[in-house]
């Protein structure tokens, strides 16, 4: 169960990072920085 909790946290964190990376990288490029 502990491993399940860590895997869930990692999956959720990866999903959050992925969507954040999409908008932040695009914003960075769109503003020409």
């Amino acid at each position: 169960m502990a491993m399940h909790g860590i895997l869930h946290a990692l999956l959720w964190a990866a999903a959050l990072l992925l969507e954040a990376a999409v908008v932040l990288i695009a914003d960075h490029r769109l503003r020409g920085r």
Binding site: M1, A2, H4, G5, I6, H8, A9, L10, L11, W12, A13, A15, L16, L18, E19, A20, V22, V23, L24, A26, D27, R29, L30, R31, G32
Partner: protein
């Protein structure tokens, strides 16, 4: 809610471009990061209060309840104000942070406060409807966000790619549920509106009934 939160962050950026997008993204995701931490430190059942000292103050309560999101909003707004000295920006950071909980009431079921009801429409149970709603929020936020961009960039390929990628992520999340969108038993309530699964009196009554049954078995 998944990408819908980022749709709100994008909309906020369109309303006040002075605030960094990363600040608004962090504010919109704050409750979910707290939830991820709760799972990572070994807390499997978000309804349990095993790792928290206060009675009735569960892990999910700590990340998604009304008092928690209020504290988080105040902390993030004060931090932003302290670094940027931008009162309106700080208010926007607070609003974006606060928006997380009502948005989640639409897609899942969350605690309100210790002893309070758990409420939510649990739209995750209807992936197509959830996808349509969150994609619409992302599109609306993206339209507002474009206002913050220099004119030639607003309609560029990168801007469109960001929108398509977000919608694709939402589609993948809905298709992959319950693995991605929080496979917690509390997201599938017996009632789509309001229910209180952990009423102390009901739990006491059940315990008393079990004790009476055991006593009857022991002393026929």
């Amino acid at each position: 809610m998944y990408t819908g939160h980022l749709g709100i962050a994008l909309a906020a950026k369109g309303l006040r471009s002075r605030v960094g997008l990363w600040v608004l993204v962090a504010a919109s995701q704050g409750c979910d990061w707290a939830d991820a931490v709760a799972w990572a430190i070994g807390h499997q059942d978000p309804r349990s209060s095993r790792w928290l000292a206060f009675d009735g103050w569960t892990a999910q309560m700590a990340s998604h309840s009304v008092p928690s999101v209020l504290v988080l909003a105040i902390v993030l707004a004060v931090l932003y104000w302290a670094t940027a000295r931008d009162g309106r920006g700080a208010a926007l950071v607070a609003v974006v942070t606060l928006s997380h909980v009502p948005a989640d009431y639409v897609t899942s079921v969350k605690p309100t406060w210790p002893g309070g009801p758990r409420i939510g429409l649990s739209l995750y149970a209807h992936p197509a409807a959830d996808f349509l709603l969150e994609a619409a929020i992302v599109c609306g936020g993206w339209l507002l966000y474009r206002r913050s961009l220099p004119t030639p960039r607003a309609a560029s390929r990168v801007a469109w790619l960001a929108l398509v990628a977000l919608v694709a992520l939402q589609l993948a999340a809905n298709a992959g549920r319950p693995g991605i969108l929080g496979a917690t038993p509390v997201d599938t309530p017996p009632s789509p509106t309001t229910h209180r699964p952990d009423r102390p009196m009901a739990a006491l009554a059940r315990r008393a009934a079990r004790a009476a049954s055991a006593a009857a078995d022991t002393f026929p």
